[in-house]
Symmetry: none
Subunit: 219 residues, 2 copies
Amino acid sequence: MKKILVVEDNIDIHNLIREILEKAQYQVLNAYSGTEALMILEKENIDLILLDLMLPGMTGEEFIAKVKNIPIIVVSAKTTSEDKVSVLLSGASDYITKPFDSSELLARVKVQLRTIRNSNTIELKYKDMFLNQNNRCLFINNQKITLTKTEYAILKQLLLNPNQVTTKSKLLELISNDTLDCDENSLKVHISNIRKKIKSISSNEYIESVWGIGFKICD
Amino acid sequence: MKKILVVEDNIDIHNLIREILEKAQYQVLNAYSGTEALMILEKENIDLILLDLMLPGMTGEEFIAKVKNIPIIVVSAKTTSEDKVSVLLSGASDYITKPFDSSELLARVKVQLRTIRNSNTIELKYKDMFLNQNNRCLFINNQKITLTKTEYAILKQLLLNPNQVTTKSKLLELISNDTLDCDENSLKVHISNIRKKIKSISSNEYIESVWGIGFKICD
DNA sequence: CTATTTCTTAACTATTTCTTAACAACTTTC
DNA sequence: GAAAGTTGTTAAGAAATAGTTAAGAAATAG
């Protein structure tokens, strides 16, 4: 069950929001000021924050700046674009104006709880290439390629860091099972084998070599 | 530089959106139907999709269902909560109603691009020249130039110290791999090769020589 | 224990990058 | 404006790295 922290000093609106969320099976925690909310954040593992901008003591922007890695939906009576923009740029993930529609509030809550960091994605995607982390298979154009353990490890590393060079030593570290007894030669063979498998069903080049450094999957 | 795919069949709105995004230094790709968009997604590595709901051939919901792992902002003339809710629940990440405010559009685009994975691109920028330190590529006018190890090292040094002369001996030190056996002649060739690569896609002169001292990148 | 798959090694080829060298072009100095 | 010094360009060969293949070793599955 997802935990949502509601930060709102107006009791009526607070209760309204809580009712909506609890009816949708979320666990709701309550804070009536920014400082109180920060205290709760230290103790609890919160998945999402609903924040009213006009709080006693601390401004909404100040509060947003102190929160890291938790999505924040601002619920505010301010309707101008300037307000929305400044809040969104300062770190909020969404902005809903009062009065709000309860179903829209719920939908936007679901969007935030459905992010990559919250849902462990089983598929790594790059262009038309999918690496399924359940069955360790690679799909290109819906065609399946079975990978060996090391081939999977190499591709996963590259797909986790697209448009980034992964050094040969990093890859070697990955594939050497504690022993550290495999060398660069071995890595070259693995890369070659992966490319051969890919080439059998697609004409695209996915793995690029970066001369003297390592490999990357890149535009 | 982030790639945004705009899916919209109305030419005027399409051009307006493209203009806004390009002014904000995003690379914009265009699709005028859902099927066209899906084709582009297979080839290109898109960071974000801006989608008009009313498309020829395929409904917005059908399109959204086919896209995985790429955030979608729906830009629609439909303003009812029901419309918003159904789209958000079917997989879109945000919903903007027409007519929209350009700064709010940009802010919401930034929110979607501000994920953990996207936030760690390290780029050295100079005028319209971007040296991406993740993939060691140089971009001028969105065109990619691949650099060799030494070319990258030289350009990085120059871009780290703009408007400043880097001495030839400093550069030699950089590029000589322990051996210290390369000479000034070699450096000249490298500089020449970098300039040749840049000249192939831009008429600007970036690297200036400082007679008797070294080189600089300068206004 | 055997059969199969996967990994590593080694020899070899192919490719890319770097250096060298010769020469052309440009600056400075006298 | 000629000489000396410096920079720029080009091409070719050297050096470094990447890629391929096949065979045997190691690991895994049956």
